[in-house]
Every structure is written in C-alpha cells, then in structure tokens.
C-alpha cells in the first residue's frame, strides 16, 4: 500500500461482501418460494424478499464502487485522499442507513413504511428498485455527493489520468441520473419513461464507465502494461458504450405508450451494445498477453479476465437475445429478463468488485504480492463455483423463460400464469440448486481470506 488513506477502502469492501451474502441468501429464499409458494408465509412475502434482494444489490454495488474508488484514487493521483475522515464517516452513515432501510422493509409493512418516512411530503416510493424511503434516498444523495467531493478534491490536488477522468465522469453521471428517483409524474407512461433514466442509464452507461476505470486500473497493476496503451482501449470502449448505451435506453420504451420510433432506435442501438463488451474481452486478454510483469496476485488477473467474459455473456449476449423489438414483444417481463438481469449484474458489476477486492485486500492486509498460494487456490475454486453457479442459474432461468413464452404468448392455446409456473417447477428446482452453488462459492471466497499465511512466501497458484 503506497498511501495510508487507501485504508479507507477496507470497511467498504468488507461491508459490500457482507451485503452480497445477504443478497444471495434472500435470492435463495425466493428460489424456494418459487417451489413452495407458502414458504415463510406470512412472515416475509415474495414482494418483500424481492425488494430486499434487489435493494441489497444496488447498495452493495455502491459500497463496492466507493471502496474501489478510495483504493485507486490515491494511487492514480499520487497523493493522499483529500479527507479519509469523511470517507469513514460516510461509510458509517451509509451503512447505518442501509441496515435501517432493510430492517424497515422486513419488519414494517410497506404501506406503513411510506407513512412513517414522510412519503406524503414528496411521493417517491413504490417504484421497482427505487423503493427506498425518502430519508434513505436523501441519505444516498448526501453520501454520494460527499464521496464525489472527496474524489474530485483529491484529483484536483494530484495527478490527472484517463482513469480518474473516466471514473469521475461515471460518478457524476451516477449522481445526476439518481435525481430522477425524486420525480414521479402522474402520467404512468412518463413515469416509466423517466424511471429508466435512473435504472438504465446507471447500469448501461455511467456504471460502465466506473467498471471500465476499475478494470483498467487493475490491469495496469497486475500486467505492468504501459498506461498509454491501456488508455486508448479505455477511451474506445467507453465511447462506444456511452453512445450505444444512451440510445439503447430505447429498448425499454417498446410497447409502453412511447412513440413508435423507439422500436427502431432502441433495437438498432442495442444491437451495437454487445460490441464494447466484446472489445473488453479483447482488451483484457491482449493486456494479459502483453504483460510485462508476473504479479504474484494471479487470482486478481483471473477475476479481471472473468469480468470481461461474463459481462460480455450476461450484458452482451443475454441482452441481445431479447433486445430486438419484434422479439421483445414476446419475451418482455418473462424469466428470460430475469436470466439477463442476473448474469449481467453478476458478470459486469459483482465480478469487477471481486476483481478489485482480490487485488486490493491482500495489499491492505500487508501482502503486496497477493495471498499465499494455498489461499489463491481456494479462491480459484470459489471463482469457478460462483461462475458455474451463475451460468447454470442463468441457463435455467432462460429455459424457464422460453417455456413461459411458449405457454403464454405464442399460438392460440395459451394457459394461465399459475399453470405455466407449475410446468416450470422442475426447472426452478435446478435454478435453486445452482443458486446454492453460488452461495457455497461465496462462502469459499470468504474462507480464502482466513487461510493461514505460511512463513514468508507468496507465489500465487499455478495457472
């Protein structure tokens, strides 16, 4: 560790991973509810589980991004963080607010929660992914603004690099697009239209900048490739991502009351969206091939390459499967959407956080060349467990989606929702099994942190 203020990243990483465990746990509970409808009834109904599952994801990613930023910004700018104290204070504020919100979801009926949290003053609740009570939303704004302030002030006093520029652009975009969470128009179509400005422009535009910046940072560190070389790739990827991603918002405006031209703009722009992800694979593998150093932390590079591949599959391939308007007419809102959602969030965002944690955590714990070989081997096992688990889960959900589409949308002999769900039960069982594998993989990942360090050697696993 070159700068002591990088230590601020540690609690963020740890908390993000704890939230991830919670997210997967609630996902598993839901997978069981798909099989046994009255499981946990009336203690925690499906809608509450789902809300907790998705909200945990969003919050854990924010924690992960913040941790990653606090780690990489001092090294990139070659100066200490502007205010490590602010980073720690906001950590506790955000963690407390996050926990309180989740407890609120679990123990207070949602309708009552709206009354308790002044939703009548400014109604913002009740929308998918943006269910947070008003105080939590305001808290997120405060935390994010102080975080961006901290980053910008640090960059201003230090070295400016392409990575910091891309990162800050992504962070500012993240903050700006969250503002749409505070505006809920009466017109339902307009409401949905603007809701996507937060949801889509986060995951398919601004967050991708953050992802690109973190990936570039880790690649520079573990491959030793020249910065100029990496910068060009980064520019190319993010330019393509931004253009296709912003126009690609159109793929959410199909058949919802928005004008017809969105069918064309949305379809064509999203047909291009997988390309920057493909470039990301080329990027990661080219940098690996041209690496100038053999970093002891091999598993970090494995995660980096994995991120590129799984992001391409989840966001690129699984997105493209149902993004063209004529296809989407049949697939919309089925388990196929869920398949894409799971693999893209995992492949692009959860994995980049694993990449960063796997690179940075050993350094923060005083092991500059990574964990011991034994620990890295265990981590590699967790890598495969989680990836195979997520891939299996995604394939199962895709199969479920296809059955659902055939049952309910194609032809004239259609059956009802519950009947269709029953016909998918076997597939849901498989899905739950793969979900369990992901959870075991995560536990294995945690275990790799506790592998005892053997005296004075860190070499990495034999890849």
């Amino acid at each position: 560790m070159k700068y002591s203020s990088q230590m601020a990243a540690k609690p963020y990483f740890i908390f993000a991973l704890i939230l991830l465990a919670g997210e997967i746990l609630f996902g598993l509970l839901m997978a069981i509810q798909y099989l046994y409808g009255d499981f946990l009834f009336p203690l925690i109904p499906f809608n509450v589980l789902r809300m907790v599952h998705t909200n945990l994801l969003i919050v854990l990613l924010l924690f992960g991004f913040m941790g990653a930023t606090y780690y990489l910004i001092p090294e990139e700018t070659e100066t200490e963080l502007w205010s490590p104290k602010l980073a720690i204070v906001t950590f506790w504020v955000f963690a407390a607010a996050g926990v309180a919100t989740i407890l609120g979801y679990l123990f207070v009926p949602y309708a009552e929660l709206t009354e308790l949290t002044f939703n009548n003053l400014l109604p913002t609740m009740g929308r998918e992914f943006l269910e947070q009570p008003l105080p939590t939303k305001l808290g997120i704004v405060l935390v994010v603004v102080s975080y961006i302030l901290n980053v910008i002030m640090t960059v201003l006093k230090g070295r400016k690099t392409v990575i910091t520029t891309v990162l800050i652009t992504g962070l500012v975009g993240l903050a700006v697009f969250f503002l749409f969470a505070f505006y809920v128009p009466d017109n339902l179509i307009l409401d949905k239209f603007l809701w996507w400005f937060t949801v889509h422009l986060w995951v398919e535009a601004t967050w991708e900048l953050i992802l690109g910046a973190i990936l570039a940072f880790v690649l520079i560190k573990v491959t030793g490739v020249d910065r100029e070389h990496i910068d060009k790739w980064l520019y190319l990827i993010i330019a393509m991502t931004m253009l296709s991603g912003i126009l690609g918002t159109g793929h959410h405006f199909f058949y919802m009351g928005a004008p017809e031209y969105w069918l064309w703009i949305g379809s064509i722009a999203s047909a291009v969206e997988p390309l920057p992800f493909f470039l990301m694979i080329l990027f990661a593998y080219t940098m690996t091939r041209e690496r100038k150093i053999q970093h002891g932390n091999k598993i970090a590079l494995t995660w980096a390459k994995g991120t590129a591949v799984m992001a391409f599959l989840g966001a690129g391939v699984w997105g493209f499967i149902h993004t063209l308007a004529p296809v989407n007419m049949f697939t919309h809102g089925t388990q196929l959407t869920a398949a894409h959602g799971h693999l893209s969030f995992y492949g692009a965002y959860i994995m980049i956080i694993f990449t960063m944690v796997s690179y940075a955590m050993p350094i923060l714990r005083g092991r500059p060349q990574g964990n011991s070989q034994k620990a890295q081997n265990l981590e590699l096992a967790s890598f495969w467990m989680m990836n195979i688990g997520m891939m299996g889960l995604t394939l199962a959900l895709s199969a479920a989606g296809i059955v659902q589409i055939m049952d309910q949308r194609v032809g004239t002999e259609l059956i009802g929702f519950m009947e269709s769900q029953e016909s998918i039960a076997g597939i849901y069982m498989i899905r739950a099994g793969f979900g369990l594998l992901v959870f075991v993989g995560l536990i294995t990942y945690f275990a790799s942190f506790f592998v005892k360090e053997e005296a004075g050697q860190t070499v990495g696993y034999n890849a």
Binding site: K232, L236, M240, E260, Y261, W264, I265, I268, V272
Partner: protein, 199 residues
C-alpha cells in the same frame, strides 16, 4: 524532386482503433439502411409520396460538397506524405490549406443541411409523422452529428498541421482523422440516393 523518405506505407492507414469505430459505425448505419429498405417495401406509395416533399437539389449540393471536401483531405495527406526534409514548412502549409478548404466545405454542408431541416420541420414534420420521415430524421440527424464531429476532428488536425506537427514518417493522427472523414462522406453517398432519389 528529391526522393520521399518513407519506405513503406502502413495498412490500414491511421490508428487501428479508428477502424474498429468505422466498422461499428458502418454496421449501425447498415442496420438503419436495411430497416428503411424493409419498411419501404410494405408501403411504397407512402414512401414515394413523402420523398417528394424533400429538396433533392440541396441534397445534391451537399453530396458535391462532401465529396470535394474528402478530396481536399486526400490532397492534404498527400502533401504530408510527399514531404521532404527540405520542404517541411511548405508541405505543412500546403496541407493546412487543403484542410482549411475541406473545413469550409464541411461548414457549407452543415449550413445547407440546417436549411433543409428548417424546411422539413417547418412543415410540422416530426419523428411520428410517418415511417419515411422517421427514417429520414433519424438517419440525417445522426449523420449531421457525424459531420459535426468530423469537422471538429478536421479542425484539430488543421491546427496541428499548421504548427508543422506532422512529418512524412509521423502522420498517423492525420490519417486517422482523414479515415473518419472519408467514412462520413461514404455514409452520405449511400444515404443520399437511398432517401432522396431511389423510387
């Protein structure tokens, strides 16, 4: 005339990254062109009637402007490529003049196209008027933005050329920008007959 210093021209010209961008751009436009062609088949009469509302003359003028401008860019690259150790200053000056002329024509394209937009939008036409105008607006506005970006790139190259920033052996940046500009030109050469002429 003294012998040029360069040994071998690299291929493809310019930075490799620009070729990735060019292919993605061509792919995107190709999808739109194909979409136009397919949509037209289902309602040829409406497409033909709507096409009559466009001003072919301004489209034709713009085609000439872009092709000529592309030619000037070729001349600029040539001036740099034929540069000798003694003629650095003159070659840079000549190249920058060609680039400036190309920029003026690009500006001309933008003005003519803006007048065309004023004419079309003045008739109350929007993206929702019909499918022909939907494609017309998406394609031409999208292309217009490319001309704007291309002009900006040409301007940057012009500045560097004027400051004698390119040499016979080091003009990759110029070729990169020139390649992009030719793509903008190429797109229009397909777009113009497809939208304005073919009936």
């Amino acid at each position: 005339m003294s012998k040029p210093l360069a040994v071998k021209a690299s291929y493809p010209p310019g930075d490799f990254a620009i070729w990735i961008i060019i292919y993605v751009e061509l792919l995107t436009f190709a999808l739109l062109f194909a979409g136009y062609a397919f949509s037209r088949r289902s309602d040829i009469e409406m497409f033909n009637a709507s096409q009559l509302l466009l001003d072919q003359t301004s489209g034709f003028i713009n085609t000439l402007l872009l092709i000529t401008s592309s030619y000037f860019v070729v001349k600029a690259v040539q001036s740099i490529k034929n540069m000798t150790a003694e003629s650095t200053k003159e070659s840079s000056l000549a190249a920058s003049r060609w680039l400036l002329s190309a920029l003026v024509l690009a500006g001309g394209f933008l003005v003519v196209k803006l007048l065309d937009f004023v004419h079309v939008f003045g008739q109350g036409i929007t993206l929702s008027t019909n499918k022909f105008f939907m494609f017309y607006i998406i394609l031409t506005v999208f292309h217009f933005m490319h001309v704007l970006l291309g002009s900006f790139i040409l301007f940057v190259i012009y500045q560097k050329t004027k400051a004698q920033g390119y040499t016979q052996n080091d003009h990759k940046g110029m070729e990169t920008g020139a390649s992009y500009w030719h793509m903008v030109d190429l797109l229009w050469i397909v777009l113009f007959p497809l939208i304005y002429i073919i009936r």
